[in-house]
């Protein structure tokens, strides 16, 4: 692949990506110090955070990029369903992860 950036531009891109992240983290620290620890606002923010993290993970599973994109969506969903089912039945996180991961490995290798 032909890279069109100079050395300086490449590092400027890294610095900008760093600043683009730092802004949000610092704003998070700033606002956390301004709001009440037990109010409705923090409950709402917590709920949004749970929803957003769930959304990010579902994006990785349903609309992936990179190596995971070479697997079938049905296989990834099946792997997740197996994990959720094992956890609901046995109430054990590690077993659920192991069984789901092994099942996913078998499915993507042999089907």
């Amino acid at each position: 692949m032909e890279v069109e950036y100079t050395f300086l531009q490449s590092w400027a891109a890294v610095a900008l990506a760093c600043i683009a992240t730092l802004i949000w983290r610092l704003m998070g620290v700033f606002f956390y110090n301004k709001i009440s620890e037990n109010g409705l606002l923090i409950k709402w923010i917590n709920s949004i955070a749970y929803s957003m993290v769930s959304a990010v993970m579902m994006m990785i599973l349903i609309y992936p990029t990179g190596a995971l994109a070479t697997t079938l969506t049905e296989h990834r969903i099946l792997g997740l369903i197996i994990g959720l089912s094992v956890m609901l039945i046995f109430k054990n996180l590690v077993s659920a992860i192991l069984i789901s991961l092994i099942s996913f490995g078998v499915i993507v290798t042999y089907f």
């Binding site: 692949m1 890294v14 983290r25 700033f30 749970y50 959304a55 599973l61 995971l68 959720l84 993507v108």
Partner: protein
């Protein structure tokens, strides 16, 4: 010499390290192997890949950066895309700081910033899961041990990923990358509080529907919609009972 970070109970700090050297560490390390493979293909050198992981420390932003770099996008576009991809971090930091009750330690702003810089989704989900199992005042020690170990695994994964692509089968890499979303989804759906379970279900389902319509904006909107629905359902339920 004054301690940089408030280590009060070493047992919980070590417990955090040990819990990280387990599924979470390997899951995150594998995810970063995946990122490193993408970044190498995009034209990054090893130092750029390591600097990106260390400073951005958030997979969606890192992938957005590498993808745009690969096609030779302008620096302004890279900045805007990474800024938008990382918007969610502000809410995660507020939520994580609230779970850790950081205010009561009276730490200066820069120490809070260091502590919360190493907060990845994995460590946020982990403290959310552990907050009911560990005393409130020990949770920060646990978090410090856990998150800095996770960070080390992430850096190692990034380094290894840059070089192992030629030696490890892509099948193995994709199985390991599957581990991170699986682990985190199972952790957060396991939350003790029903309001959070409802948030997880709504957020996940809404994002699947919204992504084809609004692309990556779906993360922000699914979060706001899912979280608000959960709050609404919770308050309605309280009124009825």
């Amino acid at each position: 010499m004054r301690q940089l970070l408030p280590i009060i109970d070493k047992n919980f700090y070590i417990k955090g390290i040990l819990n990280a050297i387990n599924v979470p560490g390997f899951a995150l390390g594998s995810t970063m192997i995946g990122f490193s493979v993408i970044a190498k293909e995009a034209g990054f050198d090893i130092w750029m890949v390591l600097a990106t992981t260390a400073s951005v420390w958030g997979m969606p932003g890192q992938v957005a950066f590498a993808s745009l770099y690969a096609v030779g996008s302008s620096l302004v576009l890279i900045f805007i895309a990474v800024t938008l991809a990382n918007m969610r971090m502000m809410l995660m930091v507020i939520s994580g700081a609230n779970i850790l009750k950081i205010k009561k330690y009276n730490l200066p702003f820069w120490k809070q910033a260091i502590l919360l810089h190493v907060m990845a989704i994995t460590s946020w989900a982990q403290i959310g899961y552990m907050k009911d199992k560990i005393d409130e005042e020990k949770l920060l020690n646990y978090y410090i041990g856990f998150s800095f170990t996770i960070f080390t695994f992430g850096m190692l994964g990034t380094f290894i990923g840059f070089y192992i692509n030629n030696y490890v089968s892509s099948n193995l890499i994709r199985i390991f990358i599957f581990l991170t979303p699986l682990y985190i989804l199972l952790l957060i759906i396991n939350s003790k509080e029903n309001i959070h379970k409802v948030s997880v279900i709504f957020g996940g389902l809404i994002s699947i529907v919204l992504y084809p319509l609004i692309g990556n904006w779906c993360i922000l909107f699914s979060g706001i919609l899912g979280g608000s629905f959960a709050i609404l359902i919770n308050s309605l339920k309280k009124r009825i009972t």
